[in-house]
């Protein structure tokens, strides 16, 4: 082995093959799917948060630009405000749906307090119809989540993929199946509540 590696041509051949592998992996992740680590506690019951281990998710890039996503899917998207950062939230409304800007369970006066300390719902309206080509996203942990309540509807062109499963903290590994992990508790009032 040693005399073979002493040859500089052999090194360049290995480097060329490694770059080919990296290229294929990059394109595969961008167009088909992959595994990536996540951080943050905005999706806490669904995607757990750990002190030292980052949870890993399996995502499908075939659903990029909102192809075939529906209400209840967990998506990854480029943040409309900071385009270099990615977010991972649950779709709450698709084009044409009416969504509540105000967090359920909060009082209506909060919408006044919002503009003062700039923490919640900077839209100034209580109910919004999601415009064409957009979706309304919200984290499962509504108390600790920067989502559409702050920056408005997300253009579907910013959606980079759909989360299929949580993989790595093996205790929390599960498939995310749209309707399976979101339960309609009250038939009439349609509140989306996370099942544990």
């Amino acid at each position: 082995m040693a005399p073979r590696l002493a040859n500089p041509h052999e090194w360049s051949r290995i480097a060329f093959n490694l770059s080919k592998v990296a290229l294929v992996v990059h394109i595969f992740q961008r167009y088909i799917g992959g595994i990536s680590p996540t951080a943050g506690m905005s999706m806490v019951p669904t995607i757990p948060v750990h002190y030292h281990k980052r949870p890993y998710i399996l995502y499908s890039s075939l659903h990029r630009r909102g192809r075939g996503v529906k209400v209840g899917d967990v998506i990854t998207y480029k943040s409309p405000v900071v385009a270099s950062s990615q977010g991972c939230k649950r779709i709450v409304g698709m084009p044409g749906d009416f969504v509540s800007v105000v967090t359920p369970g909060r009082r209506d006066e909060d919408i006044e307090a919002v503009d003062v300390d700039g923490r919640w719902a900077s839209l100034g309206q209580q109910v919004v119809q999601v415009p064409e080509g957009h979706c309304w996203v919200a984290g499962d942990n509504l108390e600790w989540s920067r989502d559409s309540r702050l920056f408005g509807p997300v253009p579907l062109g910013l959606v980079t993929g759909k989360v299929l499963a949580v993989m790595l903290p093996l205790s929390d590994a599960k498939w995310l199946g749209g309707e399976l992990d979101v339960k309609d508790v009250q038939e009439k009032e349609h509140e989306w509540v996370i099942k544990r």
Partner: protein, 269 residues
Amino acid sequence: MPPKPPIRIPKTSAPVARTRFAPPPPTKSTPRTPTRSQPSHPTPPPPRTPWYGTRPIRSGLIWTANTVAMGCALLWVRDHHVDVLSIKGVSMAPTVNPELHETGKKDWVIVRPYAQSGHGRGVERGDVVTFWKTHKPEECGIKRVVGLEGDTVYVKRGYALDKQEGKLGGMPDGLGSLDPDAVDGRMEEVGKVVVPYGHVWVEGDNSRFTLDSRDYGPMSKGLLMGRVVWIWRGWGEWVRMGDERGKKEKARASRVVEGRAELPAVFLE
């Protein structure tokens, strides 16, 4: 000194001693056989390799892997280095597609994607950009960037001049908030838009036939694909991307006052 006698070369070859085992000398009448000349050390001829090689599975896998890598390389070049698009609309009319409504001649554009494509870094005022449309996520648009984040845009038509509230459906509109101290509680100034952080304001050159930021508001930088550098109008007709608008067209565009924007405190880590 007497001259030397000329050297005589015998014309007839020396007689070969014919033995019982020696081959007979070749005669002209007998055809030459291909096995006439025997090498000193006879080696078997190299085996003919079939078209699929000696190790067909291995070479087939290598061939497939190289083909896949070549396709990925093409996609990578398209995503990060150069892209070619055909333009169908007249929204950029004097600059791109100037004759579409008369002759139906379409232009092709050469797009240089921004570094770290999709993040919109390095975009400047006056760039002609291609982007994914906000209202149709699978379609590409081409417009001119008029205002960057923090700029104040005074529009001459569009949603900012309409009194109808909430027309954008909750999208960031850049309009000022309601002023409760004013006499009638209206916006601070009609027709004034401040482009929010992380967004750009795009407008078409042909302001009569264009659907742009004046209708759907500021556009997120994450939707930008790249900057148009060349226009291709057939062989030999390469045009560098510029501004072909006349004075009338420019007067119809929005007025921009440059400004700066900072990341809102809510989005800090």
